[in-house]
C-alpha cells in the first residue's frame, strides 16, 4: 500500500503550475499515469524516486519516504526505475549492469533468461538494439526486488513491434514478481493491456482515475466506436471534401460535405465515430 500526498510548484510551458496529487495505490497493482506533456507525470515519478524535492507525505508499506520536506534519499528507497533513454552504464557488460545493483548472480541470470538476453550477458550496452537495451534496463530495475517499480515512458522510443513484445515481458515480470508498478505512458493500448488502473493528470492535478476501460474508451451516447485523431489535410474533390486524419500510426480518409469542411482546420484534434452500422473486424495477422 502506497500513500502519496505531494505538492510542488512547477514551471511548466504555460507558466507556473502547482503539482498537487493525492493518491493511494494498492500493493501489487499496476497503475498507468497519463496526461499531456507538461502535466507533471514525470515530476511525480521523480518525486516518488526521491530524485526531486517536494513537500508532502509519501508512505510505502508503513515506511515513511517523505514527511514535510524531509525525504529519504533515493539510495534508501529500494525502488526500480526504468528511464525512457535506458540509462545503462556503458562501461559495464550487461551482466555487470545488473550485478551493480546487487551481487545476486542467480537472480541476474534468471531475469536475463526471461528476457532472452542470456547470450548477450557479456556484451557492452553500445552493441545492443534499442529494444534489447530497454529489456536490460528493465531487468536491472528488478535486481533489488523493488517494493515499487517506476517506469517513465519505457517503450516510447521503440517501434510498434518491439513495443508489443516488451509489453508482454513487462506483464510477465509483473505477474512473476508482483511488484507494485507505476508507469508513465501515452499509448492507450499499452495502458489497457498492462494496467489495472489509469490515472490522468492535467496541469498537475488528477482529472480522471479509474479502471483502464472506463478511462480510455472514448465513445459517447449511441456511438459504436470512435477514434481520436489529428486532421492532416482537407482536399476538395468535385463537390465533396476528403479529410485526411492521422489516428495513432495510421492515416485514414473520411468523406465530408462542404458545411462540415468549412469548420475544420489542419491540425485540429478530431473524433471519428460511427453509429449506423457494426464495424467489421478482420484478422490480418496471427499473433
Amino acid at each position: 500500500m502506497i500513500e502519496i500526498e505531494v505538492k510542488k510548484e512547477l514551471l511548466g510551458s504555460l507558466g507556473k503550475m502547482d503539482l498537487d496529487v493525492n493518491l493511494t495505490i494498492e500493493a501489487q497493482s499496476f497503475v498507468a499515469l497519463s496526461g499531456q506533456s507538461g502535466s507533471g507525470k514525470t515530476t511525480l515519478l521523480r518525486i516518488l524516486a526521491g530524485l526531486e524535492e517536494a513537500k508532502g507525505r509519501i508512505v510505502v508499506d508503513n515506511e515513511v519516504w517523505l514527511d514535510g520536506f524531509k525525504a529519504l534519499p533515493p539510495q534508501k528507497r529500494g525502488i526500480g526505475f526504468v528511464f525512457q533513454d535506458y540509462a545503462l552504464f556503458p562501461n559495464m557488460s550487461i551482466l555487470d549492469n545488473l550485478l551493480f545493483v546487487r551481487q545476486d548472480k542467480a537472480l541476474a541470470k534468471e531475469l536475463l533468461s526471461m528476457s532472452e538476453l542470456l547470450e548477450l550477458a557479456h556484451r557492452k550496452p553500445a552493441t545492443l538494439s534499442g529494444g534489447q537495451k530497454q529489456r536490460v534496463s528493465l531487468c536491472r530495475a528488478m535486481m533489488n526486488r523493488p517494493k515499487l517499480l517506476l517506469m517513465d515512458e519505457p517503450l516510447s522510443a521503440l517501434d510498434p513491434f518491439m513495443r508489443n513484445k516488451l509489453q508482454q515481458e513487462i506483464l510477465s515480470l509483473h505477474k512473476t514478481f508482483g511488484t507494485t508498478t507505476i508507469m508513465v505512458s501515452h499509448d492507450p493500448s499499452e495502458m489497457y493491456r498492462l494496467s489495472s488502473r489509469v490515472v490522468v493528470l492535467s496541469q498537475g492535478k488528477i482529472v480522471q482515475d479509474g479502471d483502464a476501460k472506463s478511462v480510455l474508451l472514448r465513445t459517447q451516447g449511441s456511438q459504436k466506436f470512435s477514434f481520436e485523431g489529428e486532421l492532416l489535410d482537407v482536399i476538395k474533390v468535385d463537390v465533396i471534401y476528403i479529410a485526411i486524419v492521422a489516428i495513432g500510426q495510421q492515416i485514414v480518409e473520411v468523406v465530408l460535405d462542404a458545411s462540415e469542411a468549412l469548420d475544420l482546420h489542419v491540425g485540429d484534434r478530431v473524433n471519428i465515430g460511427t453509429k449506423a452500422f457494426a464495424p467489421i473486424l478482420q484478422k490480418w495477422e496471427k499473433k
Binding site: A49, L51, P73, P74, Q75, K76, R77, G78, I79, G80, F81, F83, D85, Y86, A87, L88, F89, P90, N91, F100, V101, R102, P125, A126, T127, K133, R140, M143, N144
Partner: protein, 232 residues
C-alpha cells in the same frame, strides 16, 4: 654537433618531468573531487568557485608567481607557519615549485574533468543512486570510467602545461641548477648568453616531446569514441 648534444646537461629536463609528474598526480587527486562537486553543484555560489578555479588561466604568470612567492615566503603567515612549525622551506626549492605548479595548472585539470562529468547523462547517474550507490561510489564506478577521453586530456594537458611553465617557476624557484632549473628556464638562460646551438637542441626536444604527447591524446580519444560508440 653530436659532441655538443652529448655534452649537454639533461638535468633541467629531468627536473621538468619530475615536477610535471608530481604536480599531475597531486592535482588529479584534488581535482577529481573538486570537479565532481562542481559538476554536481546547483548552488548559486558555484560561479564564484568556477571563477577562482579559472583565475590561473587569465592571470599573468608573474602576478601568480608574485602572490605565491609572497604567500610561501617568510613574510606571510603561511610561509612562517610552514617554516617554524613544520620546518619546511617553501621558496627557492623543489617543494615550493610543486606547490606553485599546483596552483598554476589547477584549471587545466579541473575544467576537462568537470565538463566530462557534466556531459554524462543525468539519468545514468540517477540510475546509480537508485541502485543504492552513494555519490562517491557513483564517481568511481560509473562517472570516472565513462569520461576516459576527458580524463586522458586532463592528465596530459596538465602534465604538458606544467612542463611548459616558465614565469611562475622562475619567480618561485629561481634557477638553481639541479634543484629548480627546469628546461624552459634553461632555454631562456641559453638565449641570454647567446648559446643558440644549445637553445636549438633544447627547444627542438621540447617541440618533439610536446607533439608526440598531444598526438597520443588525439589518437587515444579517437579510438575511445569509436569503441564506446558515444555514451549509451
Amino acid at each position: 654537433m653530436f659532441e655538443k648534444v652529448m655534452a649537454l646537461e639533461f638535468a633541467p629536463f629531468l627536473i621538468s618531468f619530475k615536477l610535471a609528474s608530481i604536480t599531475t598526480l597531486i592535482l588529479f587527486c584534488i581535482s577529481l573531487f573538486l570537479a565532481w562537486s562542481l559538476a554536481q553543484s546547483r548552488s548559486r555560489f558555484k560561479p564564484i568557485f568556477e571563477a577562482i578555479t579559472a583565475l590561473p588561466i587569465v592571470l599573468p604568470p608573474s602576478v601568480l608567481g608574485f602572490y605565491i612567492l609572497y604567500a610561501l615566503s617568510f613574510h606571510s603567515p603561511i610561509g612562517r607557519f610552514f617554516q617554524d612549525v613544520l620546518g619546511i622551506k617553501l621558496v627557492f626549492n623543489f617543494t615550493g615549485l610543486v606547490v606553485a605548479s599546483c596552483f598554476y595548472s589547477l584549471p587545466f585539470m579541473v575544467q576537462p574533468l568537470q565538463s566530462g562529468f557534466e556531459a554524462l547523462p543525468k539519468n545514468m547517474l540517477e540510475a546509480s543512486y537508485i541502485a543504492g550507490k552513494s555519490k562517491i561510489e557513483t564517481l568511481f564506478f560509473v562517472a570516472l570510467p565513462n569520461i576516459k577521453p576527458a580524463l586522458m586530456s586532463a592528465i596530459i594537458i596538465t602534465f604538458a602545461h606544467t612542463v611548459g611553465e616558465f614565469g611562475v617557476v622562475l619567480m618561485v624557484g629561481g634557477s638553481i641548477p639541479g634543484e629548480t632549473k627546469v628546461a624552459s628556464v634553461a632555454i631562456y638562460e641559453m638565449v641570454e648568453i647567446m648559446d643558440y646551438t644549445s637553445a636549438h637542441i633544447y627547444s627542438g626536444i621540447m617541440v618533439f616531446i610536446s607533439f608526440v604527447v598531444l598526438l597520443c591524446v588525439y589518437i587515444f580519444n579517437r579510438q575511445e569514441s569509436h569503441r564506446l560508440g558515444g555514451v549509451v
